[in-house]
């Protein structure tokens, strides 16, 4: 470890200790209520309060770095602990740094590293990427569309549908899909590679003349808005598709305006990245209501929404357990009497579909808007 890195490491350990001290001041345990990691591991070390204590013990030299492994990898990085914390001590803020420590020590599991390497080498963490969606789109435009690897791997029709909606609104976007946003690289603690990848995305966007980037995936949107600007210059504005659609001029109806859709009762799940980390909570609701559906609310919603189980690489490290979290959400939607469980994140909807096993229809909100 170089001298600079050693100083940074020391500083990070001191911060972990301060955070644990703040946490123990209140001992409120608000963070436990809705923590996905605690749902999977009901022992104290599975919740943010316990994780703070374990991290503090490591900082004091009472534990080895390997002892942090499960505690750090079982975190969905959903951020609800920070939202609920009285003492500004949510473990969410510490997890990326600790994953960097684990990466430097060669302790990150191979499945997470493999996913991150595919994102860097192939431009997607998934085995395949359907790029046919962008045929016929201009090489250069002031507006770009970044569908995200998850959409292209699991639901490429959503990208085609989104482009059709944009074109109906008079926007013909340039396709931005050469590189992955790098979320899996960030989650695996590969800080240097994440920085390089951000630079490559910025270069692609600059080359295509894009000033305004429209996205489908909340995970990518969070990376582009909150994470990449910390490591690279990103000279464009990023807008999630629901923000774009909900911001149509007054008097101009939303695409698929009220009455044209089928109606019915819709439970809307706020993706962590969209609702909590980007504060986009009302726009999707505005669209659902404009489409004429009855909106049903989960108990934990908006900025305090519950994680679907797919965040932070949890679905990669613990695929079965992460589906239990998705099933919780499905069961709550069924209990509310919803006809469909709707979200605006492909990670969430894919997970819900697997967990629901046909018990309820699971949809991306944008798919519900008729062309």
């Amino acid at each position: 470890m170089g001298a600079k890195r050693a100083r940074e490491h020391e500083h990070e350990l001191e911060e972990a200790l301060r955070q644990a001290e703040r946490c123990s001041t209140t001992e409120c345990s608000f963070c436990r209520d809705n923590c996905p990691s605690y749902r999977l591991n009901a022992f104290e070390s599975g919740n943010p309060r316990g994780k703070n204590r374990v991290l503090a013990a490591y900082s004091e030299g009472r534990l080895d770095i390997e002892d942090l492994l499960e505690i750090v990898l079982d975190c969905a990085v959903c951020g609800q602990c920070s939202e609920a914390c009285l003492a500004d001590a949510g473990i969410y803020g510490q997890i990326p740094k600790v994953r960097e420590f684990l990466q430097r020590e060669g302790l990150i599991p191979e499945e997470m590293n493999a996913s991150a390497r595919r994102a860097l080498d192939d431009g997607t963490p998934y085995p395949s990427k359907d790029r046919s969606w962008s045929e016929g789109l201009p090489e250069k435009a002031s507006v770009g569309y970044f569908p995200g690897c998850n959409v292209l791997a699991n639901n490429p029709k959503l990208a085609v549908h989104t482009v059709a909606l944009l074109e109906r609104e008079g926007v013909r976007p340039a396709a931005i899909d050469e590189h992955c946003c790098g979320s899996s690289v960030f989650n695996a603690g590969m800080a240097d590679d994440f920085r390089d990848n951000a630079g490559m995305i910025a270069a692609e966007i600059k080359k295509k003349g894009v000033k305004r980037l429209i996205t489908s995936c909340p995970g990518c949107t969070n990376v582009l808005v909150n994470l990449q600007p910390k490591v690279a210059k990103m000279p464009f504005k990023t807008v999630h598709i629901t923000e774009f659609l909900a911001s149509r001029k007054p008097g101009k109806a939303l695409p698929g305006d009220a009455g044209k859709a089928a109606g019915g009762r819709v439970a809307y799940h706020d993706p962590c990245n969209l609702g909590r980390k980007l504060g986009i909570t009302e726009e999707p609701r505005k669209i659902i209501e404009a489409l004429g559906f009855e909106l049903l609310e989960f108990r934990f919603n908006r900025a305090r929404s519950a994680c679907c189980g797919g965040g932070g690489g949890l679905g990669t490290v613990h695929p079965e357990s992460s589906l239990e979290l998705a099933r919780d959400r499905v069961d709550e939607a069924l209990a509310m009497g919803a006809d469909a469980l709707v979200s605006t994140c492909q990670t969430c909807t894919t997970r819900f579909a697997r967990a629901a096993k046909g018990d309820i229809e699971t949809l991306d909100l944008v798919e519900m808007i008729p062309i």
Partner: protein, 193 residues
């Protein structure tokens, strides 16, 4: 060989007992040990967690071996109506204001404890010694300590439909409310002491 309950000594846990307390509490969470990273890693992490838990700790000892442990707490700091000065001291004025804002707006699943209410945080009995009344002795000892500390009630959360509900009912606890969190459906039980 089945031991008689008279052989069990309940005493306060001191610093040298913390490893034993951790071992016993961990035994109650055996099915969760895999999630902590297996027995070896749990052997290091669990003592950290148990050691950092504040509150009164008692152990059940028989034949020189610690076979049961209980942890109860008497204090919960709440920025809304709790020890405001202490919160300000550690979090600063700005941090305390933020804490107050979150506490005001957050609807926690777990029922709020009453003033002067002790709460059972964890109790465990080693598998070979279950069904012999050790848990009951530990709960009664903790209850006596809470009473001495001026507590008026003793509360605890327990999974709905679990065998433990009957156990606590036999000890005089009554269900006061139901609640739900990501671990499932729970009952909050309380007794006047």
């Amino acid at each position: 060989m089945m031991r008689r309950i008279d052989d069990i000594i309940i005493r306060r846990a001191g610093a040298p007992d913390m490893d034993a307390v951790s071992r016993v509490i961990a035994s109650a969470f055996d099915d969760k040990i895999v999630a902590i990273g297996g027995q070896k890693r749990a052997g290091r992490v669990v003592p950290i967690i148990v050691g950092s838990m504040r509150g009164e700790k008692f152990i059940a000892v028989t034949g020189g071996e610690v076979v049961g442990a209980i942890i109860v707490t008497t204090e919960e700091i709440d920025p809304v109506d709790g020890n405001v000065l202490k919160v300000v001291k550690v979090l600063g004025l700005f941090g305390a204001l933020k804490a107050w804002r979150v506490a005001r707006s957050y609807t926690r699943s777990t029922p709020k404890r009453l003033e002067k209410e002790g709460v059972l945080e964890a109790v465990g009995v080693m598998e070979d010694h279950r069904g012999q009344g050790v848990g009951g002795l530990l709960v009664r000892r903790a209850e006596a300590r809470l009473k001495n500390l001026g507590m008026k009630t003793f509360g605890l959360g327990v999974k709905e439909n679990s065998e433990a509900v009957r156990f606590y009912e036999r000890l005089g606890f009554e269900v006061v409310t139901k609640y739900h969190n990501r671990l499932g459906d729970w009952l909050y039980m309380r007794k006047r002491i």
